[in-house]
Symmetry: C2
Subunit: 156 residues, 2 copies
DNA sequence: ATGGGTGCAAATAATTTGCAGGTAA
DNA sequence: TTACCTGCAAATTATTTGCACCCAT
C-alpha cells in the first residue's frame, strides 16, 4: 500500500521540553556500525554492513544494524539512497547540509556533487505548479572513470 | 543485496533472429490492467491497481497484475517510480521521450514537468567527474494546490 | 493443438517488531 | 537501579515463482 500520508514531510528537531527522551548510548555494537561506516567510501546495504562487522570478528545482530542505521539516518548522520531493486544503501554523511551523489553503478563509489542548480530547478518546478512542501529525490548514476577504463580494456 | 551490475544500463531491442518469442496475447486481464491504467492520472501501486480492478467486478490475480505491469514497464509503456517506502508506483507513460514528474504526496496526482535544466545539470555533473553512461533518477514531491488548500482549511 | 497466460499458494527477501535478558550511565 | 539496547526468532510486506489448468491464436 502506498503511504503518501505517513511520509515525513520534512524533519524539524523534536521540540523536547525536557529532553528526557534518552541520549544514544555508547555500546559496542553501535561503535561497530559507526566503525564500518567509517571505513566505507561508498554506499552499502545493511546486510553487507552487518556481514563486514561479523566477518571482522565482532558479534552483532542484523536487527541491531538495521535499528542503528535507521537511527543514524533519522539523525541525518548517514545518507540513504535506494538502488534499482528498491533496497536501501547507506553511507556516512559527509556534510550535514542537504546534498546529492553521483554513484558508480559498477563499483559503488559515490562522490558528493554540487547540486544548487538542480535544487533551484526543483523548487521552481514546484512553485510553478503551486505545490508546497516541495522535496525531491535525486540520484545520478554512471560508470566512474576507473571502471570505464577497465571495461574498455576488457571488451572492445 | 545490492545489484548495481544487473541494472539495465540502457535498453537496446533484443536481436531476435526469428522473432518467435511470442507477441503479448490479448487477454481479459491484460485489458483490465490497461483499462485501470487508462483511468488513472497519477501513480498507483500494483496492489491499489489490483484492488480497483477487483472492485470493478472483474476477477484477476495480484500476481497477474504484477506480471503485466512488469511487462508494460519493460516495454516502456508505463513509468515506474518508488515512493519513500521503496514501493513501486506505476502510471501509463504519456510520452515515449524521457521525462520526470512532480507528484503530490497527499493525493498522488502527478504532473509531467519541464526537466531540461535538470537534465543538463545531471549530464554536466557526470561529465565533470569523468563518468560515462550517466543516468539519473529524479522525482519531485510536494503538496498540490488543492491539497494545500484543503489542509489549510482543516488544521490551523 | 499448443504455448503463453492465469490463479493460487508457497517462496523470497528486505526490513521490522515482540520479548526476555543485558548493560551503560 | 533503570531505561535503553540487543539478539533471536517470528512477523510483516512487497514482489516473485512453481505448477496445474485455461484459452487466444
Amino acid at each position: 500500500m502506498a503511504r503518501w500520508h505517513s511520509e515525513r514531510m520534512g524533519q524539524q528537531a523534536a521540540p523536547q521540553s525536557e529532553a528526557v527522551v534518552g541520549a544514544p548510548r555508547d555500546t559496542r555494537q553501535r561503535r561497530a556500525v559507526l566503525g564500518a561506516l567509517g571505513e566505507m567510501e561508498s554506499f552499502r546495504s545493511a546486510q553487507v554492513i552487518h556481514g563486514s562487522i561479523v566477518r571482522s570478528g565482532q558479534r552483532i545482530g542484523l536487527a541491531t544494524v538495521y535499528r542503528t542505521l535507521k537511527l543514524l539516518a533519522d539523525a541525518g548522520e548517514v545518507d540513504v539512497v535506494r538502488d534499482a531493486a528498491g533496497e536501501q544503501l547507506f553511507r556516512r554523511c559527509e556534510a550535514s547540509r542537504h546534498h546529492h551523489h553521483l554513484v558508480c553503478v559498477s563499483c559503488g563509489t559515490a562522490v558528493e556533487v554540487e547540486s544548487a542548480p538542480m535544487e533551484r530547478w526543483a523548487d521552481q518546478v514546484g512553485r510553478e505548479h503551486g505545490f508546497s512542501a516541495v522535496r525531491h529525490s535525486v540520484e545520478v548514476f554512471g560508470v566512474c572513470p576507473g571502471c570505464t577504463r577497465r571495461a574498455a580494456g576488457q571488451a572492445g
